[in-house]
Symmetry: C2
Subunit: 215 residues, 2 copies
């Protein structure tokens, strides 16, 4: 268990390193320097080395990092060297897109349960999964040993469903609805907010923005 407190930015960059390493592996690189890794994800070599140093010493001086080995280490740090059982609530536009996305499963996020409140959808088979009735959310989340819930429901019902999800003992939620959900402090809650990124672009264009620090 990581006892040092790691910043969110570092964790996000681990995802980037993982992605870059996957590509490097495909390109048959044996080793990679912090310089090359940094270049591929628009970061600095010092940043790469500092981030990795929080978790151990993975490199060889004069040579760099072993690609396969480091990739494996990062997947272990991120906890994606295993399968996570994920449920998705709201099989609408965005929900359907997420279910169809094969990369999630490849990274260990396996969507094994779908929920909706639309009678036309309930019971139907969607990409090999039968859509469950939202009325049975709590019991079925428990029975299926779900660990992560993805919310793709209208903003108006998101809080209500969240309360149910929390009651089912779920500790991690990814929310696509543009609303700030109230959850107990021991729940990990993340938001996917696409409007925010569009609004950033809008701001940047209008103000000719030069960020103080780069993303």
């Amino acid at each position: 268990m990581t006892r040092k407190r790691i910043s969110e930015s570092t964790i996000h960059r681990l995802s980037l390193y993982y992605r870059a390493l996957s590509l490097l592996e495909k390109e048959n690189y044996e080793t990679v320097s912090s310089k090359e890794l940094a270049k591929r994800e628009k970061l600095t070599p010092a940043q790469v080395r500092k981030d990795l140093s929080f978790f151990g010493t993975f490199g060889t001086r004069g040579l760099g990092y072993p690609v396969r080995e480091l990739k494996h280490q990062i997947s272990s740090i991120l906890g994606i060297d295993r399968v996570w059982r994920v449920a998705l609530v709201g099989v609408g536009n965005i929900g359907s897109a997420l279910v169809s996305y094969k990369e999630f499963a490849k990274q260990g996020f396996q969507i094994v349960k779908l929920f909706d409140n639309d009678q036309r959808k309930i019971g139907s088979n969607h990409k090999g999964i039968v859509i469950s009735d939202i009325a049975n959310l709590e019991t079925e989340l428990r029975e299926a040993n779900i660990e992560i819930v993805v919310l793709a429901v209208p903003a108006t019902v998101a809080q209500y469903i969240t309360d149910d999800v929390v009651r089912a003992g779920i500790k991690a939620i990814l929310n696509f609805a543009p609303v700030n959900l109230k959850v107990p402090p021991d729940i990990y809650l993340r938001h996917e907010n696409m409007s925010m990124e569009l609004e950033y672009l809008s701001f940047a264009l209008v103000n000719n923005h030069v960020p103080k620090r780069n993303s």
Copy 2:
């Protein structure tokens, strides 16, 4: 033109304030304190006041901020008090979901052009927009006066299409493909990376993470 350099975090929080203010307006609030605004978006009152202070003085001591007025001010700062002409490339799973999403248009992001390379899709009418051939990307982006391009194509072709988009004079790109795109320094490029958020949840669960600073 904002000459002071504003941090990305501040801009992202402006989006949150805007969202909260929209709701407050619906709830018929006349004024709102930094305290209430902070509570609704899980921030601190000082943070709210500091952020707003970068752009002017909008509040009244002893009373708070006028909801309608502040909302309007923020929409002007973010540049969403106007219509942006957006094109979307790749009308697949996620692309279709984005086109169907009415909130974008309500916030001024109007998707007016769709592109794909699939012959079965080209020429067909999708939510009132005829899908164009990717072969005509550059000319049609220019002719339609597109200002923002959303990329929802496979990662393998994303860089290639980006080069075209840049050649068409587009200055703002929102990319959904999990790949770091190379663009000239005067282009605003943002990434929507859903795996990253899932991986954060995974990390948090595995490591019992307490972030150093909250999101």
